[in-house]
Symmetry: C2
Subunit: 246 residues, 2 copies
């Protein structure tokens, strides 16, 4: 291993971080390998444990290594995360099916309620309508929890929608086949999020894990908004991928 | 304000969170408004400060409120974040120009170096080539730091590339106009990240702030990979948006 140098103008923690990063980038330390302990690194480079900790913290934040309580720190497998693509408006079931993955959906609740002001705005609801269906679903891929979705649907557009219908069919196919609607497009935003305790329990990931938050507003050909969806996706095993054409 | 109830089977912190969330959703508490203090909430609902703290922590994690050291907790402005769209392969300058925003780029370093194994793999470099150009750039929008990008370019494809060329022109236009390359498409992945101290300093955001990490591999029409880019985007003022067509 290269050594940090007090003659180098870069901070010591930063030098150590770069040394470890280069070892990972060159597969000298491979995915799953333990990295040397704080004590070993501190002795090897004659630097304080604080300095070592700062270097490792940066590597953790950059996702290059991960800690396991009581076991140590290991090189992360950044290359083999499964990618799911999103460039067309497709339902969850269809996207995963195209990748050959088995999915399940668990409806956590299905409620008819008064829309809050923000939900009304997102759904661009007519003034005389105020009822929305709020559905909370846990999405499961290959027997593992994958995302938690909350979707709001204007009740006047889907008057007879029931939990049973959603349990057995994809929402988009119900819209087309039961209600005869034509989907047009969706606007989707992506933000980073930290999971709440409730969410991390449902997704069976560690508390305060990082996630992606997707918000989607979907339009029908007739101009009405048919859904507003907020979904948190776990990010430890999946990567969101887009193909950009020139 | 509604009150939490010990007769309700939902945990007290969760009830409080839902009450505050509903007030935010209905604009009773508006963006920028302070929410009641921990002490006020604890007295009002006859619950412990710990319980109040847990409810507020969840709201912070969900991005609905934010804390300011020594000042209190305020309702976040989730609606007015600027959106930048990405569905075509375009350079940063072009995307922002189309939104009417002024951009600047600061080159932090420009180096010719040996590729690490991982970079070689990403760039799918021929066996007899090993040199890459590594460029680190700070992207600035309307005088505010916006993203930090590191791009690796196979040296054999851009033998005379210099820092000066990149300072005055977009990379993609250099590829087309100076080298005569035809861009084909890019694969881009998106992951959530926590900023390192170095990154948060450069982006002038609080330490450990959340960010989006984009990795992009861009292909030429001749099949060669022309760039591998890793970029961290601040997420406090911008949202990444995609339009999905059916």
């Amino acid at each position: 291993m290269k050594r940090v140098s007090k003659d180098n103008p870069l901070p010591l923690y930063y030098q150590l971080k770069e040394i470890l990063q280069e070892m990972i980038e060159n597969n000298i330390l491979e995915a799953g390998d333990p990295i040397p302990t704080e004590r070993e690194l501190s002795e090897m480079h004659s630097i304080s444990r604080m300095t070592v900790r700062k270097a490792i913290m940066d590597l953790v934040n950059e996702g290059l290594v991960y800690r396991e309580q009581g076991r140590g720190t290991f090189v992360a497998d950044t290359e083999s995360k499964l990618k799911y693509q999103l460039s067309k408006l497709k339902g969850f079931t269809q996207i995963m099916k195209e990748k050959g993955l088995k999915t399940k959906t668990k409806i956590l609740y299905f409620e008819l309620k008064e829309a809050t002001k923000k939900v009304r705005n997102h759904l661009k609801m007519p003034n005389d309508k105020n009822k929305v269906i709020e559905v909370n679903r846990l999405r499961i891929v290959e027997e593992e929890p994958f995302a938690i979705e909350t979707v709001w649907i204007p009740y006047d557009l889907c008057p007879n929608m029931s939990q049973e219908m959603l349990e057995n069919n994809s929402f988009y196919s119900i819209l087309e086949n039961e209600y005869g609607y034509n989907l047009d497009y969706a606007k989707q935003t992506i933000e980073p999020r930290i999971l709440t305790e409730y969410e991390s329990d449902l997704l069976t990931v560690e508390e305060s894990a990082l996630a992606l938050l997707f918000r989607r507003t979907t339009y029908l050909k007739n101009g009405r908004v048919i859904e507003y969806t907020k979904a948190v996706y776990r990010s430890d095993k999946y990567k969101h991928e887009v193909i950009l054409n020139y």
